[in-house]
């Protein structure tokens, strides 16, 4: 007797032989080169900026003009905000919630006692989290004005992004009010999606972030 497994196995066509170890090697080397280019670009930009600044203030040191600066990669230290913030739904200001150039990101999960009870930092694939945020709708979704936040007691999330220039941005996911926001930039709709994307990256790295409401 055939089972679903046989049907699924039969549905797969003949697939070509591929040297996957070699392909992994190619991809690993490509990623390293890309990282090297980014690091080199950062060093060049910082060096150019430092030289331009020094010339501007007339303090260029000429005794060692060819000295190579050490590679500098700024990865800001990130902390979870102590308090949750609420943002009732209203039309927000224009602009993206976050920028894809972030170099690290920290997920903070709140609920129950004060302060974040879970936190996890990632340093790769951050752009996918940012894209999930920026893809959310900025349109006020209700046909009438909503003053309060009705869903009291649901979890609250904050994602803190760190940027190469040392700046940090806090994005809040407020399930009480149904809003995702950074300052006055507000998004609506599937606001837990960026948290799901973040959590999937953490899980793929071996972490165990808590499940989101509705995923139980």
């Amino acid at each position: 007797m055939k089972g679903l497994r046989d049907l699924l196995a039969d549905a797969v066509p003949e697939l070509p032989e591929v040297d996957r170890v070699a392909e992994v090697g190619r991809r690993v080397r490509r990623r390293r080169r890309a990282r090297g280019v980014v690091a080199t670009g950062l060093v060049v930009a910082l060096t150019a900026g430092a030289l331009a600044g020094a010339q501007l203030f007339g303090s260029v040191r000429e005794e060692n003009p060819v000295a190579t600066p050490p590679p500098i990669v700024i990865v800001p230290t990130l902390d979870c905000p102590a308090e949750v913030q609420h943002k009732p739904p209203r039309q927000g200001t224009e602009g993206p919630v976050a920028d894809e150039s972030a170099v690290n990101a920290l997920l903070c999960v709140y609920g129950g006692p004060p302060g974040a009870y879970y936190r996890a930092e990632i340093r790769h694939d951050i752009a996918t989290v940012v894209r999930a945020m920026n893809d959310l709708s900025a349109e006020y979704p209700y046909p009438y004005k909503v003053d309060g936040c009705r869903a009291i007691g649901l979890a609250h999330y904050a994602i803190v992004f760190g940027y190469p220039d040392g700046t940090r941005h806090q994005v809040r996911v407020d399930l009480n009010c149904g809003t995702l926001f950074r300052d006055d930039v507000i998004r609506f709709g599937d606001i837990t999606r960026p948290v799901e994307v973040f959590a999937a990256i953490v899980r793929a790295d071996g972490g165990e972030p808590p499940y989101l409401p509705g995923d139980r």
């Binding site: 089972g3 049907l7 196995a9 591929v18 992994v24 990623r31």
Partner: protein
């Protein structure tokens, strides 16, 4: 340690032994040979980077494969559309034809959500338990059961597959 894959103890052997089944599972997820290869490569590269720290490489590669598919593939490949080429009614002769069944299975898989499709492949192609599937997808066992039930309902809607059920195929 050399910098090219194949040098850490066992990685090349792991790829040789497991990548075929990974790529077949990836094909069932994506329905496309190139996307399947790409998905498997993402999982293998991630595995290679953590090879010395991972206790169960098979489980780790599977987790990366499925979570990557569910979280990223939906957006990147959502242009995929279900095939309308499958007949609504079938005869016994048609059912006997592997091609018809193959098309029916593929068309029904394409109608599933990414998470339902992942659950079907995990549970019924990879023979994972509910708990193993939950670990691979990073969700609860209740979520797996719900997706399984809904996915099977979608599969059973197909005339070809329904006929197979009547013929005794377990579905």
């Amino acid at each position: 340690m050399r910098s090219d894959p194949g040098s850490p103890e066992g990685f090349a052997e792991f790829v040789a032994e497991r990548s075929d089944s990974l790529v077949r599972a990836a094909w069932l997820l994506t329905g496309d040979e190139h996307k399947a290869e790409d998905l498997v490569q993402v999982a293998l590269v991630r595995l290679w980077e953590r090879w010395s720290k991972v206790d169960e490489p098979g489980a780790y590669a599977r987790r990366v494969l499925y979570t990557t598919y569910v979280t990223w593939w939906r957006r990147r490949w959502r242009a995929e559309t279900p095939s309308a080429a499958v007949p609504d009614t079938v005869t016994r002769d048609d059912v006997a034809g592997d091609a018809v069944v193959r098309l029916a299975v593929r068309a029904r898989l394409a109608r599933l959500s990414s998470r339902q499709r992942a659950v079907v492949v995990l549970r019924y192609f990879e023979d994972c338990s509910v708990e193993e599937a939950a670990r691979a997808l990073g969700c609860s066992t209740g979520s797996i059961k719900t997706h399984t039930s809904r996915a099977l309902a979608v599969l059973r809607e197909d005339a070809v597959l329904r006929t197979l059920m009547e013929e005794g195929v377990v579905l």
